[in-house]
């Protein structure tokens, strides 16, 4: 097993002819494709159709196409607008600190030091946890007047009186974002660290001989070198964060009064509590459209065309 730092030695990829191996290829791919088609693509397609139907679990006898009716209902809902705005806030405010801190941590971990392995194992922790559990833990820490975060902030003299983190809409939104930042830094630092370790040392040696200082090295070598990784990682992360309802679900469940819903939690709320599948599906379709636009825009803006390539 090679580590990422070593160059991959000579990928051997013999091109066998299809005619000879067609059946084998087909049979090997069949289970995967069959499962994905039946249990992912079929429900998705059905979900898109549902978005244009009057589909409620309470009344399955009365399902008709209602055109854009679901979309009209949703657009008229203040809760939807709120969760749309929140989604952008959620993605942007979570992503930037995750990326920045993750980048700094990766830079600091680039060179070996005693205990680096253990350190990495510890900061890896959040990643093994589900968004649901993380939401719960933060809910407990932010809990009411006697939560530990209020206590710590007061001990550090940052605040004088307890902040009602989860009862105040603005603070509640800040809370979910902070919890998400906590969760996501690890991801970035690990991805970026792997990229950093693939930079050949000779580049730095050469720069040092030329008298480049740390900042020059950072902007002339490090960042350009890992830029492709940064771009792909960020793109995928944006999509992932936008689709990530678990943490908000257990931390605030969209509350207080719907003020921390993002599109995905708003949709799940409609599914679990409202049982109005048509409207929920319509929200899903809107999310897909946003994702599509974002991906196209991003790819054009960065002129980086390898994102779709594994």
């Amino acid at each position: 097993m090679k580590t990422q730092t070593e160059p991959i030695v000579e990928r051997s990829m013999p091109t066998f002819r299809i005619a000879k191996h067609g059946l084998f290829i087909f049979l090997c791919l069949l289970p995967a494709l069959l499962l994905v088609t039946v249990f992912i693509y079929y429900p998705l397609l059905k979900g898109v159709i549902m978005a244009f139907q009057n589909y409620s679990l309470f009344d399955l006898t009365n399902i008709d196409f209602i055109g854009l009716g679901n979309f009209q209902t949703i657009f008229a809902d203040a809760g939807f607008k709120q969760s749309l705005i929140n989604s952008f806030y959620w993605v942007f405010c979570s992503l930037i600190p995750q990326l920045m801190i993750g980048f700094i941590v990766a830079l600091l971990l680039r060179r070996k030091f005693r205990g680096r392995g253990i350190y990495q194992a510890f900061i890896f922790f959040p990643w093994a946890m589900s968004g649901f559990l993380i939401g719960l833990i933060w809910r407990w820490m932010l809990n009411g007047q006697g939560g530990v975060i209020n206590d710590l902030l007061m001990k550090l003299k940052i605040i004088h009186s307890a902040i009602p983190f989860l009862a105040d809409p603005t603070w509640a939104m800040v809370s979910v974002v902070v919890a998400n930042v906590w969760y996501g830094i690890t991801f970035f630092s690990i991805m970026i660290l792997a990229a950093l370790q693939s930079i050949p040392d000779e580049l730095y040696e050469a720069a040092k001989i030329d008298g480049a200082n740390y900042m020059q090295q950072l902007f002339k070598i490090t960042i350009p070198y890992i830029l492709p990784t940064l771009l792909v990682t960020t793109l995928l992360r944006v999509i992932w964060i936008l689709n990530f309802p678990d943490l908000i679900y257990s931390l605030t469940n969209g509350g207080p009064a719907g003020s921390t819903h993002i599109l995905s939690t708003y949709m799940i709320d409609k599914l679990i509590n409202g049982q109005n599948y048509g409207q929920a599906a319509a929200v899903g379709v809107i999310m897909m459209i946003i994702l599509l636009f974002f991906s196209v825009f991003y790819l054009l803006a960065t002129k980086f065309n390898k994102a779709g390539d594994f």
């Binding site: 971990l109 690990i190 899903g284």
Partner: protein, 277 residues
């Protein structure tokens, strides 16, 4: 590399320490909470270390709920889904790594898309599909869905592993009269075992943690997985934080241990370009 300036290691040390504290504290806190007796839960000033350590919360959680059943359900679902997704992904990953064929790009794209779009768009139709299959409130519904969920990701990881193993290896075995499939399982797989173990662990943890499909499909005591059960511990107005913290610790320990073990390989898989948090 950088100019040796004295304050640099210091700043670095401080930053890394603070970051470590920030990362570890929530876990420390939930763990400490789980060891507190109920009368210490809300004391002011807050106790950062319990005056009296107790395992009551842990005992209690098994008394007030069928927590043993939930653990068993989570285990069985995650193991079975992890196992099947691995087998299926081994086959598809192998073919994608070794052969060029028409439609390969489309197949890869079909897998890739599943990682990108919010799967809960299909949640309602899935529910109907599962109820047609008579699987609502039964564990096979989750076993199937988790397998499906993990197959694309595992395929990509396995493809990466296969690409790094020279094909001369199985060709030699095939010269000796092995069929391709037995060469795959007798020669290649053993070489990849650590990577495969890590992929399994990753899949296992994802299944272990999954919440929304489980909430949708399972509402019966004997079929609940840990996340579903914990979700039902959250009542509208109150959470019993003693039991909840104990449940959190119990459910997080296996994943922490497994991840610590498989960390290196998971990172490797993740950084090959296929990403799912």
């Amino acid at each position: 590399m950088e100019k040796p300036i004295n304050w640099q290691p210091l700043v670095k040390g401080i930053f890394l320490s603070l970051f470590l504290l920030f990362t570890v504290f929530p876990l420390y806190w939930i763990f400490i909470t789980s060891l507190k007796p109920s009368n210490e839960m809300f004391t002011i000033p807050i106790h950062y270390w319990p005056k009296k350590i107790t395992f009551d919360n842990y005992i209690n959680i098994f008394k007030i709920s069928n927590f043993g059943v939930y653990i068993f359900n989570s285990l069985i679902v995650s193991i079975i889904a992890g196992f099947f997704s691995l087998i299926i992904a081994t086959l598809s990953g192998y073919v994608l790594a070794r052969f060029e064929f028409k439609g390969k790009l489309q197949v890869m794209f079909a897998f890739f898309i599943t990682q990108m779009i919010p799967l809960f768009i299909g949640l309602a139709p899935l529910y109907l599909l599962m109820s047609n299959l008579q699987l609502i409130n039964r564990l096979p519904s989750l076993m199937i869905m988790y397998t499906v969920m993990m197959v694309p990701f595992c395929t990509v990881i396995m493809k990466g592993f296969f690409e790094r193993i020279p094909s001369s290896l199985e060709e030699a075995a095939m010269m000796d009269g092995c069929s391709r499939i037995s060469a795959l399982f007798k020669v290649i797989i053993p070489v990849m075992l650590p990577g495969i173990a890590a992929t399994f662990i990753f899949a296992f943890v994802q299944c272990w943690n999954e919440l929304f499909l489980a909430i949708m499909f399972i509402d019966k005591e004997e079929s609940k997985t840990i996340p579903v059960a914990m979700n039902s511990f959250i009542t509208k107005f109150d959470i019993d934080w003693g039991s909840m913290s104990a449940a959190t610790v119990i459910s997080v320990i296996p994943t922490l241990l497994l991840f610590a073990f498989a960390q290196r390989y998971i990172v490797e898989g993740m950084t090959q370009g296929s990403v799912k948090g």
